[in-house]
Symmetry: D3
Subunit: 243 residues, 6 copies
């Protein structure tokens, strides 16, 4: 399967170069710089010994996520959300997605009454920031949980399986994997897929930008996503095996 038309020259089923750098900053229990090509996201995992009010005394924990973009991560400067007085709809949508996705691989009773916050801050954007964020946040989460298990002598590992995410789309009529900004801005359909390492779907969010997509296009996109996520899960594992 090849697509000479992709601006980057990639094959239609080809991921960008993916790198996952652990221990990127030193304070957080987990700290990962994930790059999907020119998209660079710093993902930190922070453990706190508290739970949100609605979970008090229930013996289980919570995973939450926050997402941000540095003002000049993008081609033209965007106003800082802190200066504008609050997070916009897009930010809220993305951080809710990241949180739900990561909760899908956590046994919250094994975690105990603790919150792990995944902060995903985009240093440089070139499309696919939310899928890079989920993929990197998983590695930061594992690192943080390992710190926690050692520190608190937990009996059971709260992390169950792995979670990764990738975007797929229809670009100039062809289904393609891992859209960069040039593709994302001009595609007909854009779909973000989150899966676990057992091949199960956690989230599927497809949007027709130009015209509606047909069932067979959806099938082709899902197949590309399955392939890409398989490769991302291997990249996560490889990164985690390093010292």
């Amino acid at each position: 399967m090849s697509s000479p038309s992709r601006p980057s020259g990639r094959a239609s089923d080809q991921l960008r170069t993916v790198t996952i750098e652990r221990h990127y900053t030193r304070h957080a229990e987990g700290s990962v710089l994930v790059c999907f090509g020119d998209t660079k996201v710093l993902c930190t995992a922070s453990i706190e010994d508290r739970v949100p009010p609605w979970l008090r005394g229930k013996g289980e924990g919570w995973i939450t996520a926050e997402y941000g973009m540095l003002p000049r991560a993008t081609n033209t400067r965007m106003q800082r959300e802190a200066a504008r007085g609050g997070q916009g709809g897009r930010t809220m949508e993305i951080q809710r997605l990241i949180g739900r996705s990561l909760r899908a691989c956590v046994d919250r009773q094994a975690l105990g009454e603790r919150v792990i916050t995944l902060d995903c801050d985009v240093i440089q954007a070139d499309g696919g920031t939310r899928t890079a964020a989920i993929t990197g946040a998983y590695v930061a989460l594992v690192d943080a949980v390992n710190v926690l298990m050692k520190r608190e002598n937990l009996r059971r590992n709260p992390v169950v399986g792995a979670v990764a995410a990738i975007s797929v789309g229809i670009y100039q009529g062809v289904p393609v994997l891992d859209l960069d900004y040039a593709e994302d801005a001009n595609c007909d359909t854009d779909m973000n897929v989150v899966m676990n390492d057992g091949g199960g779907f956690i989230e599927v969010q497809g949007t027709a930008e130009g015209h509606a997509f047909r069932r067979e296009e959806m099938d082709a996109m899902l197949a590309l996503a399955e392939k890409g996520i398989g490769e991302l899960v291997i990249a996560q594992r490889t990164a985690l095996e390093m010292a």
Copy 2:
């Protein structure tokens, strides 16, 4: 296909009773009360002769949506968002979805430099408020556009085709159509599907609440959604044929 286990006793592929009442309030160019069973949403379409700053002078219009819930539309009272000082993440996510969905059936150049705002306010909630909102907002939009075409003597109809939405899910292991609140609060997977009257997909948003869903479950859910949306498009047409 039947599922004796649904709390409502409905068959697994059965919609709730759907009603679409036009001209529900008198000021808006389009005003529709849509009911999916006990879920009741008032959808109004308002025309304004202005465009957002980024569209000025481009000769095309915009469709946007806002979503709200009356504080006691739900079982326990929710704090009013105006009193809390802003719209929450869930509200923003839903109103962005409604806006994107309706834009998919509008020719924005035929509309000209105008904004149509779709206000979807939930009077009573019992699951599926966003899908009811999209389905009802489409009818309000058509009514408003008809007013506009007459008033401004437009040559081309800005509305192209129809858009409707339904939720599907896996409830106690069985794929079911149009989840009510009792099902929604206890299901394993919840998927909102927006389609046009030509069978094309506009949006697919699936979320694993309990455990990840398999490809064959997704296929079953999509088939249910196609059936349900077919029925909703007929209900929209029937409502629009009345005086």
Copy 3:
């Protein structure tokens, strides 16, 4: 007393058609749709087992109110307060008035340490929304208190008497009862009067819009208000006697 000049053709001492529909939505302990002609307000009463901080441990309860308008309740669309980031001055003024008025008929010690919130949301506006809201909220309050008395086996009824409200004004030199929007926008004086069923005044808020009003005009307006509120109290009673 007749005034051929009223836009609606009503006599100067004539109310619009008043309807009070109980059990309008199903979740709230009290839920009433009140219509003063084309003005339609949904009033719900919600009971919560908590008190504001300043009443903790004092053995008495609280009645509070919130007011909102759907964006297209009015002739031109108004910006949603939740989207604008907060409630405006007019909204705050009205909801404070509704709260004070209803507290005037409640024995807060008989209520016990509970809050009842009256949410008054204007579905359609044609003048007099705050007086309709007070009149309807009273009926919702009685329904909610009856639920509470049964559920909690209260010995004493916390509701003492009845409260209703109406607007009066000077329109083209003539004192008139129950102003609709066409009158309200063009009157010289506008006065909102809240009374109990014993003929006592709870609130009187009169404003000279054009020129100052004389004492004899005030007397005429108060007499009209007394007549109108007498009729509203009967309408409340009649509605409450239904099953």
Copy 4:
């Protein structure tokens, strides 16, 4: 008419000592410190050569008011509204009242396309801050308009007549004039009355705090208000006659 029971020992129809000090600060076009006994309000009038958007090009001006309390104007410190992130309901209600009251004595066409803002800041509070504010703001307004007339060579005086305000109430069963804090916190009924110098009513805002008030009590309160406002108008005139 005497009432030995007033905490201050005043007769029931007796104002507190009223002082009106003009030119209190030096930057504003009008600047007045008004004292009703221990209630001290600084009222400034500021002229700006602009109008609100809805008045552009209409050849008329606008009068608006803002109200604030220094955090320790009161017996216990109140949180600063600027620190809390916005003005509360009570503040908005009062500043809207001040604005409406002063607009009642201004010919907005004679004013031309200008805004006069009346800032009323309570330095020390002992009841009756809003009535003191209106009474003092009138004097500041006259001073500012005189500056304007000279500077811009206006042909017609935009100020038409005078406006003053006072509170009245039922304290321990007796109608009394000009409530101080000790009375205000314990009265059955509290009414703020705004009148012009021709004896016409601009605003009447009466609230039953304890039990509802009867028509004859209202009549007694209005009579007291008329007397008190007569004296305030003289105090305003005397102050304005000074150099």
Copy 5:
């Protein structure tokens, strides 16, 4: 040392007339009107029996400050911060400075678990509002602490020494003491200095407005500040010796 060029005609090392009026308002434990020429700031000190969360149970107290300007304290009206929805950067910077400065003369363990809030509200501005505020707030603090010591029978005086502040600058090439607005708006360098009565520095904040300042200019400014603060400490002492 003389500088004929100062707009006010003052010598280069001459303060404006400084007055410190205690007991200016009656509710606060300490209440001082401080004037540096035409700059007038009302400083109140309020005692509360609580501490911020991070100090609970530590047996020590806190001193904090808030700063505000009445909208027409300045030559052209500034928007009210409460109406704008929050405090701006300049306000926050100044109130943080006032708080730090006053904490420097307080033994927080002797104070016990209490907060003293210093509210500094500018009634009229003519340059140097923050230095006047610090100088006046010290006197209000001493008054409040004396009330507290008597009321609570404290063994140790929480106030240790005195704190005062003054501005210095380079105006038309000449180092000058206590800049008024005319100088402040046109100077090359502006420095605020806070010192204690033992000649120690608490804060030094110098800013080059025009071109960078040299070390010898800094030395000259610091010498002027030492002289001015010496005089202010005497003014504080004199004010505090009065009944």
Copy 6:
């Protein structure tokens, strides 16, 4: 001059290792990662062809700065300012300082009607983030201005000289250069100094944390700052000479 007591083992007049990496991200006109030891700040410079309202039509430009910290740049997670609804006092104080400092080396008429925004985002914090930010932002500014000069064919270089900043303090009685977090949290005095490459002072901000500092301590700190800034200016120059 040596101080065996510094936690890092540095000499008292020794900077941490300083690195300045240009072109760190690819979208901004200037993008620099500056490290003062473990303190890492990303500084981007963004050019926009607009000016703030108060500069329109004046033929000159503006330099402004914004400062942020990633939530887990610090030892314990801090709440995200965008989520909290606004920038805090510390953030505002720092970004105002950065802006003023950089404006001191810019000829705003040579810049023309443009804004350059310096975004300084702390990736990892270990004390001295504001001084690192100023030092790095200068290099980003030069890169951006070079882009601008080429693109717009400017005749005159808007950057005049260089600006750098360093902290100094009194740690355990000894004046030290470039405080890290361990020192900053325990020092008696903390002073931030901004200078230009000609040895002139732009800003001096000294704060006594423990007890007041004496004039001779101030002299010693200023001498250390002059030495440190001399070295930083060389580091800036070296970085800018690279391709």
